[in-house]
Subunit: 589 residues, 2 copies
C-alpha cells in the first residue's frame, strides 16, 4: 500500500513511529509560517504539521496545497500539547510531523467542499457525486448499507437460505407500474422487460425445489417518481417452501432483530407486535401508521348522532362516521388561523370538507361550536378521548375512508410537530390480513391489493364468490415509523385457485395464459406451499441512518426526472445502435 | 413448518421418533401391495413405506401417488433390515413407516423426471426449468454458487471492503461489445444503457473516497453468443485506492485461497504463480494457457535455418518461426490419417498451412521428412524437445502469431486427449504485463488490449510516443484451466495521461469528453491512485463444480439466441407501451 496507516488509525500509542498516510486535503492553514493540514480518508482525519525548519521543497509544496489535493505524507507521530488536543477527532491526541510529502494528484478548485460550512443544492452535489461521496454523511450511509446487507446475508445463510440470482432481462408482465423495456437485437420487434420484482422467478424457484431463497435484488419501475422513489431500487427478497404464515413471520422477526443489532447495536424484543389491517385502519386510519406515538382515532357516533351540530348529525344519518383525535396539551399550540387554514387544507387533500376542534378548558369544551353540544355530550366526548385540561380535540365527519385518511394525515403532522416521539427510534410492527382485493370503481372491477398471487385466509374462502371484498389475503406488511417497509404473502400454489383469482380480477384464461402461462404451468407440476416477502432495502438504510432523503443512501441515484446528473444518462445514442435494434424514435407530437 | 425434518436429516439416531417430511415423489413402487416411495427435497431423499395394514384411505392415496406429486408424510422412523440399507443414501439406514399422508399438490405427468435415467435435450429442460432445477446437479450448482458468493463477501468484508451497488440504468459508452439499451419515457429520444461492467462507476467510487469497493455485479453484453457466454452475467468486481499492483495481487491471491477453501475444502499454496504475458506467449503460445500440464512450445530456429526442409528454412529466412511441442509417449496414439487430416485442419483454423511431425524411434526421428535433417540436426531437435523413445514431436512453421495460436490449440487438444491432467484440478495463475495496445490493421489504429483506462508500466512510458506496441500496461489476468478467469489493471488517475491514451486510440478530445467526460472531470478533482479487477463468477462456479455448460450454473439462463425458453422473453409488447416510450419498431427489410 502507498500508506502504512489510514487517517483514522493513529493514537497516542503510535507516538514516535514513522508512518505514511494518504488522503485528501480537508483543511489547510498557515500559522506564522507553519503549515497545518487536515488529511482525510474514509477512515477519519489526521492533522499534519509542516515546520518552518523543514526541507524547503517540502515546505514549498505544503504551502501550495489546496482543498481536495491527494497527497502522501510520511512523518513522525507526535503527541499534541495538552491544550491543543481535539476530543472531537479519534486521532485528536496526536499529529503527524511531516518529513516527506508527495502530491499524488492536484485538484482543481472543487465546486464545494465535502466538509464545508454549507451544503450546495442537490443538483450540484449529484453532478459532482464523486466529491459529494467524500462527505462523511454519505460515507456513513454507504458503510451502513454494506453492513446491513452483510448482516442480512449472514442471517439468511445461517438458516440455510440460498442466494439465487434471477434475471434482469425478463419478460414483460405489466401490472401496476410500467415496465422498463429493452429491445432485442436478435428477435426483431421483441422486448425484454426489467423486473419490477423477482416475484414470479422466486415462485418458480420454490417449484424447482430450492426450498429457501433470498436475494438482494435490483428492481425497476418506470413510474413518475415521488420524492422517495427511484427508477431502480433494491429489495431484500425472500421466499420459503413448506411453511405457514407463522414460520415466515418468525424468520423475518429474526431478520429485523439481526438488522437492528448490526445497525444500532441493540437487541429488540421479539416477537414484533402484530396488528390486523382492520385494527390499524380503525385505530390509526392508516395501514402504515407511525407507532412511535399513540393519538389513536376515536369514534364518537353515540354523541354525534344526538348532538345539535348539523355536520356531525347529518354525517351519521348518511351512514358516515365522526372520529377524532386528542392532541394532548396542544390547546394553546396552534392559532385559530393555523387550525382553520393549514389544518383544514391538510384534511381537504384527503377529501374532508373541514375539521371541528375543541379545547378542553375548565373541564368543558371550548369552541365556536361547543354550543351545539349539551353539557352531558361534552363530558361524553371528553371521556371518550381521555381529554384533560389543555388538550386539543380534533374531529372529522365524513365517510369511513375519508375520516381515516384525513385523521391519519392530521395525526402524522401533530405527532411530528408536537415532538411526540424520538426521531431516532425505529418502531417496527406487522400488519396482517389485508383485504385480498379492493374495488376499482373507475374500471368497474376488483384489483389485487398486493398482487394476484396472494393466497386467501382459509376461513374466508366461503366469501370468495359472494362477497370478495370481505375475503382476507394471507398477506403481511412490515411497517416502520409510518412507512411500508416490507410486504409479502403466502402464495397460491394450486393452479385452479390461481385461475379463480385471475377470474375475479377479470384476467381471463387466455390473457392469464399469455401473461403468466409459465407460472400456471409450473403450478401444475408439483408446486409446494410457499410464501415470502420483500423488504425495501433503500428505505431500511434510510430509516436506520436517520436520513430523510432516499438519494443519500444510494451511491449514484437518479433525480425525480429519472436522470443521472453525473453521467448524463439517459442520453442520445448512435443511429447505428437503434438500427441494430430495429427501432426508431417516434416523431415528436 | 409443514415438516419436522428435511428429507436429508434422518439417521439411525432418530429411530422411534415420529416425524413429518415434505417433498416430491421421486420414485414409487408397489411391492406385493406394500407401497414404497422415495421422497425428495433439496436436502436429500428418504424412503417411505406404506404397509398393507395401514389405514385404507392412506393406502389408497399412496397407490395413486405419481412422479413429482408434492406430499406431506408423518410416520415413525424405523431401522431398515441390515440387508436392505442403502449406503449411497445419507438416510439409507432408516425408512419412514407412514401413518399419515397429505397430498399437498398433484403433478401432471412431468415431461421428464429430475432423476430419470436419461436427460432430455436442453431445450426441453430450459422450458421446464422448474423441473430441471429439482435435479441434484443443478441444486448442487446453486448451492455452490451461493457458497462461493458468501465466501467472497466474507473475505472482502474482513478486509474492510464495502459492497456498493452501482446503477443498472446507466449511460451508453459503447466500446467493444454492443450495449443493451432502455428507452426513456420521460426524456423522449434518450436511452439508458445496461452496464457492460461497473468500470467507470467503480473508478468514480475511488475518486469519491470509498477506498475499497467490491460488488457482485450483473453485467450485460449484447453479443452474438458463444457457447459459454450469456447476455447477462455476473462478475466479482473489485477496486482499491492507494495501492500498487503488488497489493492487488496479494488481495486476490487471498480471495482465490478463500474460494478454493470454500469450494474444495483445500488450502492452496500462495502466492499464486506469476507469468508475464511474454512468458506465456513464448512458452505456451497463449495468454491463457492451461497450466495443468507442461508440453511447452520449443523454438528450433537454429536447426530450422540450416536444414534442407524447405518449409522450415524458408520460414526462418522470411523472418518467421519454427516451433514445436513434444507429445510424450504419443508416437503410436495417432494414426497418420488423424495427423494429416484432423490435426492439420485444427492448425489450419489458426492460419497454419500444415504441421510437421516426427516420432522418436531408436534414438532418431521417424518421419516422411526426416531425410531433410542430418543426424546431427535430428539429435539437436530431440535434445531441444527432450525427446525420448515413443514421443511424438509436432512442429508449425509460420509467423510468430500463427505458430503461437496453432500450437496452443494443438497443445490443448493433445493435453485433453492424452489425459495429461486431472480434469478436477483447479490451476490458477497470474499473467502480467499485457501490451497496452494492439494494432488494428483493419481500422489502421491502435486498440486498447484491456480498456482505455489501464495505466502504463512506468519504465515503458518512454516508448509511448515512439513505439506504442512496446508499452506494457500495468494489467493482470487470472487464468484457470485454460480460461481467462479475471482481468484487471492499475488505472490511470492523471487526466493528462488519460487524454494521451485516448489520443493514441484515436479517441479525440471532443469524443472523449462526450463519452467519458464525467470520468475525465472526476480525475481533475483529486483522483487517488487506484486499481482493480473483475472475476467472472459464472465461470468460477463452473470450474469449481467441474461442469462444462455455463447454463448449468445459472438459475434461469438464456439460450445462444438470448431467449428465455421458460418465460418466453423477449416477447412482443403492447403498442401502448411502445407509444409511451416514444419508439416504433422499424419495418422488416
Amino acid at each position: 500500500m502507498l500508506r502504512t496507516h489510514t487517517c483514522g488509525d493513529l493514537r497516542r500509542t503510535h507516538v514516535g513511529q514513522t508512518v505514511t498516510l494518504c488522503g485528501w486535503v480537508d483543511k489547510y492553514r498557515d500559522h506564522r509560517g507553519i503549515v497545518f493540514i487536515d488529511l482525510r480518508d474514509r477512515y477519519g482525519k489526521t492533522q499534519i504539521k509542516f515546520n518552518l525548519s523543514d526541507d524547503s521543497d517540502i515546505q514549498k509544496t505544503a504551502w501550495d496545497l489546496r482543498y481536495e489535493d491527494v497527497v502522501q505524507v510520511t512523518g513522525e507521530v507526535v503527541e499534541r500539547p495538552a491544550d491543543m488536543t481535539n476530543p472531537k477527532l479519534a486521532t485528536g491526541e496526536i499529529e503527524l510531523r511531516a518529513k516527506d510529502l508527495v502530491v499524488l494528484n492536484k485538484s482543481k478548485t472543487p465546486p464545494f467542499e465535502p466538509e464545508g460550512q454549507s451544503l450546495p443544492n442537490e443538483e450540484l452535489r449529484l453532478k459532482y457525486r464523486f466529491i459529494d461521496l467524500r462527505r462523511p454523511e454519505l460515507q456513513k450511509a454507504m458503510i451502513m448499507r454494506h453492513k446491513l446487507t452483510k448482516a442480512t446475508r449472514d442471517y439468511f445463510d445461517s438458516l440455510g437460505f440460498l442466494e439465487v440470482e434471477t434475471p434482469i432481462l425478463g419478460r414483460s408482465t405489466p401490472e401496476g407500474a410500467r415496465d422498463y423495456l429493452v429491445p432485442s437485437r436478435v428477435h426483431q420487434g421483441s422486448f425484454y422487460a426489467l423486473p419490477q420484482s423477482p416475484q414470479l422467478y422466486k415462485q418458480l424457484l420454490m417449484v424447482g425445489g430450492l426450498d429457501r431463497y433470498v436475494q438482494i435484488a435490483r428492481c425497476f419501475r418506470d413510474e413518475d417518481l415521488r420524492a422517495d422513489r427511484q427508477p431502480e431500487f433494491t429489495q431484500i427478497d425472500v421466499e420459503m417452501a413448506f411453511i405457514t404464515r407463522e414460520d415466515l413471520l418468525q424468520v423475518i422477526d429474526g431478520l429485523v432483530a439481526a438488522m437492528t443489532k448490526a445497525m444500532r447495536g441493540i437487541d429488540i424484543k421479539l416477537p414484533l407486535p402484530r396488528y390486523t389491517y382492520n385494527d390499524v385502519m380503525e385505530r390509526f386510519g392508516s395501514d402504515k401508521p407511525d407507532l412511535r406515538f399513540g393519538m389513536e382515532l376515536v369514534d364518537i357516533k353515540d354523541v354525534a348522532e344526538k348532538c345539535e351540530f348539523g355536520v356531525f348529525k347529518q354525517t351519521i344519518a348518511n351512514g358516515g362516521r365522526v372520529r377524532g383525535i386528542n392532541a394532548k396539551g396542544a390547546a394553546d399550540k396552534y392559532s385559530r388561523r393555523i387550525l382553520d387554514n393549514d389544518m383544514k387544507n391538510l384534511v381537504a387533500d384527503y377529501g374532508a370538507k373541514g375539521i371541528a376542534y375543541f379545547k378542553v378548558t375548565g373541564g368543558k369544551l371550548d369552541s365556536s361550536i361547543a354550543k351545539f353540544f349539551t353539557e352531558e355530550q361534552q363530558q361524553a366526548i371528553i371521556a371518550k378521548l381521555n381529554g384533560e385540561e389543555g388538550d386539543l380535540l380534533l374531529f372529522v365527519a365524513d365517510t369511513n375512508k375519508v375520516t381515516s385518511a384525513a385523521l391519519s394525515a392530521l395525526r402524522s403532522r401533530l405527532g411530528r410537530e408536537l415532538q411526540l416521539y424520538d426521531p431516532a427510534e425505529i418502531n417496527v410492527a406487522w400488519v396482517l390480513d389485508f383485504p385480498l382485493v379492493t374495488w376499482n370503481a373507475d374500471e368497474n372491477r376488483w384489483d389485487a391489493e398486493h398482487h394476484p398471487f396472494c393466497s386467501v385466509v382459509p376461513e374466508d374462502e366461503q366469501y370468495f364468490d359472494t362477497d370478495p371484498g370481505r375475503v382476507r389475503a394471507s398477506s403481511y406488511d412490515l411497517i416502520c415509523n409510518g412507512y411500508e417497509a416490507a410486504s409479502g404473502s403466502i402464495r397460491i400454489h394450486d393452479p385452479v385457485m390461481q385461475q379463480k383469482v385471475f377470474d375475479l380480477l377479470k384476467i381471463n384464461a387466455e390473457e392469464a395464459e399469455k401473461r403468466f402461462g409459465f407460472l400456471l404451468e409450473a403450478l401444475r407440476y408439483g408446486a409446494p406451499p410457499h410464501g415470502g416477502i420483500a423488504l425495501g432495502l433503500d428505505r431500511w438504510v434510510m430509516l436506520y441512518a436517520g436520513y430523510d432523503n432516499i438519494r443519500d443512501v444510494i451511491a449514484f441515484p437518479k433525480t425525480q426526472k429519472a436522470s443521472d446528473l453525473l453521467t448524463g444518462a439517459p442520453s442520445e445514442v448512435d443511429t447505428r445502435q437503434l438500427r441494430d435494434l430495429h427501432i426508431a424514435i417516434s416523431e415528436r407530437k
